[in-house]
Symmetry: C2
Subunit: 248 residues, 2 copies
Amino acid sequence: MLTFRIVLVEPEHPHNVGFVARAMHCNAISELYIVYPKRDAVNPESYRTAHNSSEILDGAKVVHSLDEALSTAHYAFAFSRRRFDTIIPHTSLPHITEFLPKDGTIALVFGRESCGLSLEEIERCAMICEIPVPGQMSLNLAQAVTAACYELCRSGLLNNPGLRTDRVPLKRGRIEKANIGQIENFLSYLHGHLTDRYQNNTWTESAVREFLQRLEPTRFEMSALLGLVKSLVMRGKEEARHVEKGGQ
Amino acid sequence: MLTFRIVLVEPEHPHNVGFVARAMHCNAISELYIVYPKRDAVNPESYRTAHNSSEILDGAKVVHSLDEALSTAHYAFAFSRRRFDTIIPHTSLPHITEFLPKDGTIALVFGRESCGLSLEEIERCAMICEIPVPGQMSLNLAQAVTAACYELCRSGLLNNPGLRTDRVPLKRGRIEKANIGQIENFLSYLHGHLTDRYQNNTWTESAVREFLQRLEPTRFEMSALLGLVKSLVMRGKEEARHVEKGGQ
């Protein structure tokens, strides 16, 4: 079994540590290590942004060196976008799962907000992992942790799939695509109830046929459309009857 | 071509709007709409957390209703984890790309920090999208936007792949796995330079063989290991010579 540990190296802004705790809590990751060379405890300010995730901060291990944070883990990824002259192999977050061992504790190491991880720190890890950012600017620390957790979650590596189980499953007709038969059935009803002017306009029918096939509607949607059209016809008839009665 | 628009419906904390701008900037997404029923401009407080992304806030369109924010888009996803009794179909973020049209402007709609989107707001959209969170707690607003942008980026839907192009490509030997021949070559050198006691211990050789095959080392790593072993042997010889000379 794989477990994950978030390691923050000298985070500079305590509110970011709180946001990291929240992202971890959301993703059911609980092991937080913070490397603070000169502190022995979590900064109380961090609790302000932790939002229901204070347990993560309560359980966080504050250590004085990266080595202490890694010694009980089995494999470490250094998160960095900087370019280093090192033999440490490099991957990007969408590919991280290809490099994960089958089990053990995986440390995901994140650096300082201002300057990231040093080369020396990176070389304590087995791999460098980069989070792709098309805008060529680094994510905020907690956003980087969020992206990393999301990737693990979407790869099925966290404790549960993370989806609510109280969703009502969609009925079959809501998913199953309407076939051409159902579309033609609709077109036939539609055609049979148009005014002469529209019935003689073959362009309309072809256009609607093309439009419906392109839409790829579900069976449910086609039934709903047929219902709408029938309702229009019915209302027309009702109004006609009403006028007739009024005229008597 | 697809373009993406982030729509925030009545965000309550201005610092979250700044963090959202940063996540957007990182992912090269620039269209931000904010639905503020009673405001006409971005809250100046939001600039404090935008970190180099003030252009996104400068260009943000503040509107008074969700309809205004959606009218020029083509397809809208409502981000929500709440359970609604609605026929709006539901997906989860890892599957969002399966439901994207081929082109147009896609609105990603996020609700209030405290209570998300209302049913009425959700029903202005084509689909509900849920971000899987194993911890059963919602991400912070900007973290949710970060996860959504990351998913689009990893699916190749943003302007560029987001990876730095200045990485030195790994040399072939650094990627290519060592074959058994190379491993046996190493074992043979090792065996030939062990003391008698270790040479006669067949367990050691088998254990090292098994261990190396399991490691799946690259060619580069096997060369490095061989170099290390040779260096140990050399150093031993040097010291022996030194002792001998000293002994003369």
